[in-house]
Symmetry: C2
DNA sequence: TACCATTAGTCGGATGTCCAACTATCTGAC
DNA sequence: GTCAGATAGTTGGACATCCGACTAATGGTA
């Protein structure tokens, strides 16, 4: 499935700090940015791995979980796929893929849009709702992959990364 | 190839902040962690997209670029694939995949390990070195996808994410 | 009313990452 | 010395993501 076992061994050195030293030693510029980009990549790998591992018992992945949660927040318990792509900020074909899998698992169903025959709604099923709630318990218990990180740094993560997201037009 | 165009339009609202509000409204816990995990995911998407787009002219991706840079830092300009997996913190099969592509492009070549017949070294070629240098110029110019972010926040990104990496045993 | 540009989804192809399993080789214990 | 266990890489399969291209439907304009 999609677990990805995170290093069970403690690294003897900080590999990113070491990479930065090599960078500087060679006289290459922007080593701070290199370290930041690499840190983001690694943090993503760590968090995603833990989340997917925790979702394994529910036959879910983070992508599918996010989609399911998004739909559950809607008034009708249904959303057009295009709208989902906008909210989740992923490509339309990724949404198609995600909904395909959720639908195959009986957690959502495709229903025609009432007024626009081009559009399709993904509607969450009863099974989808109960699966989502159980999965959410699991997510809360591992704190979305940040279980061993103190609450204060967790908040700072969001705060700092807002700058990156702002640079991409994510924030007004 | 691997570009991924980042949203060219400015979002009218902060989607992650909105997701957090929905989370809280429903009474779900750990919304701060949810926001942080989602921010990491999005930041990764943004940075990786910009980097890969900048590497496009060099027929490289971030994975391949990182591998190439790592090899270039070695004394002999060659490293066992297993060692690369450890340093880059990726699965052995990912290294095989990456080296396959770099080799197909003539940027590295597989050479037998001098004393261990199980092992294979990835050795950077002259073409690989020159391609790496050009690609590095491009990376510096976009500051590894963080071009529009001030230097100070960039440093804070690495600092905060050390906590996440520490929780995974990445830091001594 | 007719038509062309835009929008919604989907299909096929490419990339990267991971896991399970397998072959070849090395190594330490008996 | 021999042999079981560990290590190095590879192969095949599963996922998620993106892009280009295509079909169907909508909509504003002439």
């Amino acid at each position: 499935m999609v677990r990805t076992k995170i290093a069970l061994v403690t690294q003897p050195v900080d590999l990113i700090a070491e990479a930065k030293r090599n960078w500087d030693k060679r006289g290459w510029a922007e080593s701070d940015a290199m370290a930041a980009a690499t840190s983001i990549t690694r943090a993503h790998q760590i968090v995603l791995s833990r989340i997917n591992q925790a979702l394994l018992p529910f036959e879910l992945t983070f992508s599918r979980y996010e989609a399911l949660a998004l739909i559950s927040f809607s008034r009708e318990g249904a959303l057009p796929l295009g709208k989902m792509g906008e909210r989740l900020q992923v490509h339309p074909t990724s949404v198609t893929n995600t909904i395909d899998r959720l639908e195959a698992d009986g957690l959502v169903e495709r229903v025609p849009h009432p007024s626009d025959r081009r559009a399709t709604l993904a509607k969450i099923t009863g099974e989808g709702m109960s699966r989502l709630e159980k999965a959410t318990d699991a997510m809360e218990s591992i704190r979305f992959g940040l279980g061993q990180v103190d609450p204060e740094p967790v908040i700072r993560i969001t705060d700092v990364l807002v700058e990156v997201r702002r640079s991409a037009g994510d924030v007004p």
